[in-house]
Symmetry: C2
Subunit: 510 residues, 2 copies
Amino acid sequence: MERKGRRGGGRAARVAARAAALPDDLRPIRPGMAGGTLKVLTEAQVQQIHEAALQALETIGLADAPPSGIAAMVGVGAIHGADGRLRFPRQVVEDALGQAARGITLPGRDPAHDLHLTGTKVHYGTAGAAVHIVDPASNSYRESTAQDLYNAARITQVLDNVNFFQRPMVCRDVADNLEMDLNSIYASVAGTTKHVGMSFSDPSHVAPCMELIHMLAGGEEAWRARPFISNSNCFVVPPMKFATESCETMEHCIRAGMPVLLLSAGMAGATAPSTIAGAVTQATAECLAGMVYVNAIQPGHPAIFGTWPFGLDLRTGAMCLGSGEQALLSSACAQMHQFYGLPGGAAGGASDSKMPDMQAGWEQMCSNVMAGLSGLNMVYEAAGMHASLLGFCLESLILSDDLIGQAMRCVRGIEVNEETLALDQMAEVCLGGTGHYLGTDKTLALMQCDFVYPTLGNRMSPKEWEENQKPDLMSAAIARKEAILDEARAQVAPDLDRAVRDRYAMYFQC
Amino acid sequence: MERKGRRGGGRAARVAARAAALPDDLRPIRPGMAGGTLKVLTEAQVQQIHEAALQALETIGLADAPPSGIAAMVGVGAIHGADGRLRFPRQVVEDALGQAARGITLPGRDPAHDLHLTGTKVHYGTAGAAVHIVDPASNSYRESTAQDLYNAARITQVLDNVNFFQRPMVCRDVADNLEMDLNSIYASVAGTTKHVGMSFSDPSHVAPCMELIHMLAGGEEAWRARPFISNSNCFVVPPMKFATESCETMEHCIRAGMPVLLLSAGMAGATAPSTIAGAVTQATAECLAGMVYVNAIQPGHPAIFGTWPFGLDLRTGAMCLGSGEQALLSSACAQMHQFYGLPGGAAGGASDSKMPDMQAGWEQMCSNVMAGLSGLNMVYEAAGMHASLLGFCLESLILSDDLIGQAMRCVRGIEVNEETLALDQMAEVCLGGTGHYLGTDKTLALMQCDFVYPTLGNRMSPKEWEENQKPDLMSAAIARKEAILDEARAQVAPDLDRAVRDRYAMYFQC
């Protein structure tokens, strides 16, 4: 019954051929494809923002640095004013840019998942500090737990297009803050061998967390050789103030050999100017101050330029991330990162919608595809994020794999050469041949490596859809979530797991 | 109860201020914003495609032109070969490009809806020939009717961001083909005063349809002064064949003073090369032949360069429009239009999903925002289209207004100047003021004209969402559809409506 004739056999063979796992060199997309075709700023505008940022650093400066930071930054030429603000002469910023690490690699525990942050290479991943998990099956929100975080990590492990796992939600079932950090680390690392991001903010937690991390790495030396966890440091409280405690935490992270994300999360219209240009300028100034800081502590320490300006609904003062303004903010930031030649990241792909509905789809695609086309190295918040960062959704995370796959296909762009222009093929088909390209050798060869096929996205005709009992996207996502969670094993060896649990109270089951 | 204090009053006042209708100069977006920040092709690649298209026209040419077309095109220098194909020396194409209409206006019946197709100005609208209407309330498809078409036109009339109404679906309740064309015209015109697109393909229908159109316009002279209907001419059957009957229809439309869309709808991998570059090359060659044709019949007649290559799922041979490949195809086409300086259109915003779900959202946004950023003059299929063009959905059309609004905000882009860089504001807030931008005069002034607010897109916090009985996007769209259809009156005077119905059998009620 399977081969009803040439056509049926041909189609079945094509579907089977494509369903087989692709060798890496034939994959249509992979992490780190180069973007850069979208330029929401002209070169002159980039220069204007750069100049304005330098001027802000020289004339306004930043308040509230901790004593250790003041000492370090004054040591490289920053000026500590009578008003308590640190101001940065242009030369100080340029010196830091000269020392800053470029072309850094964020390692995964599995080297296959290393992220090489050069040029306009694009990587998509999770991030955030959602306090709820979103359950589409019951149309409800509940507090997120350590088990949810572990599950999100396990799901991320199997999704080709989610390239890193920065902790997207808070373990609210862990009351003690240090225990929460320890659980966040272990839930993430136990779930995925991709690069992991944390968000320590208490300086006293770094040392105990590093003990666990060394244990997971197999010792400090192994850790320092391949630091598979980076820390997201909210080192500023915009506008133009250092976050004193987070800065101290950052200093500890730097000394511990942990790459840092210099995260400036101003809200355009509240803690940053409401204009896109103004919000990008302020974030750029703040991150430049952060680069001075990092390189004053440890020249060349890996740091990601994390201009993350967020949109705001000015009618209500509520954060919103699903807007076109947000997509423009993050795209403009990508150009600033490229201007400095520094590894950079910003937010893309978060939705304001409460559920993974059509609104979520359009909002997540808008900023994800624009960030990618702009060549943003690290697109944070790219998957699973809802309710303006308050809710994380596992089904949405799974669907994002399809969504990001299409966005990454757009990032890959168009190859133009003699073969792809296809004049020979056109002549053959029109003048000599069948009048049809389907089934030509060229077409079949490219079927594999040129096209991104959806996993859950549905391309059936209405007739097929009816014959198949009208498959529903959300039901398919729920089913895939359950299948993944049934099958995905822990990514740590059983004896290491036992050793960790002997020493630490873990709030989730592997 | 309304003013509980300063904060509450301020917020209520801001919401009220923003809810008021905006004067046109304060609207954050409007039809025809200029795109062009996205360039998926380099200038050299555009040139390569142009050269390949010219070579295809010189060496392969097109078959199957009608005798009248052969005569006209041979008259301007095309060569009619022994194999029946018309080939076009480079000079013939260049002559046509020299004569072709540029900077054309597609009038609405209401001049407020005129579309000015110059440069990278972007307009979004409907199009297609869906045979089903999609009903999300019952999760089902049924055959589309003349009443559905009228309803779609009425809804389009009230949506700010759907800028034109090309007939998106077929009136399947009208058995006679001429009656179907007449019903399509009148259902569209009775529903909206925006520019309307038709798809006549039978040459014998043009004359009787023009009688109705003259009646609607108030006479032939008024019609010719402001031709508010254009015809979508599928003038080629790719690869590289003229569609004989459609070409004859096109000649009649040209003589009747109707702007034409030169529509080349090849399917990449079936009727066009599977590579993006090859599909764009072939569509460009075909539309260049169309430009020669139009200008041979009537130099300078308004024609839209309609390179509409579609994506295909090569595993199954099924059309698919929601892919990243599709977004790249249409974006590349926009650059070719700009290279020629001709008004152009392509498909964007159609989904493969059967329902307005998350997949529909990401697919519609991907190609809509990329087409807009590429400066595509006419983004056809931008709203309401599902199941790879087989189903049209009124609720999705309504939601597209929000989706396209955000896309158009991205098209508008970023203004960088002394005011938007906001250094003065930054200094004031950081050094002298409140430490907060919310509530500053600058922020409040820009709240109106810088931000696009969604109509149905939901930005509530999870708490507000729960307190409001968890509003659901689809229920909101269904309710808005019903409200619009309850209220929206016919856009023709009652006596004209009576006169039309006296003369023609109309299958829908006004």
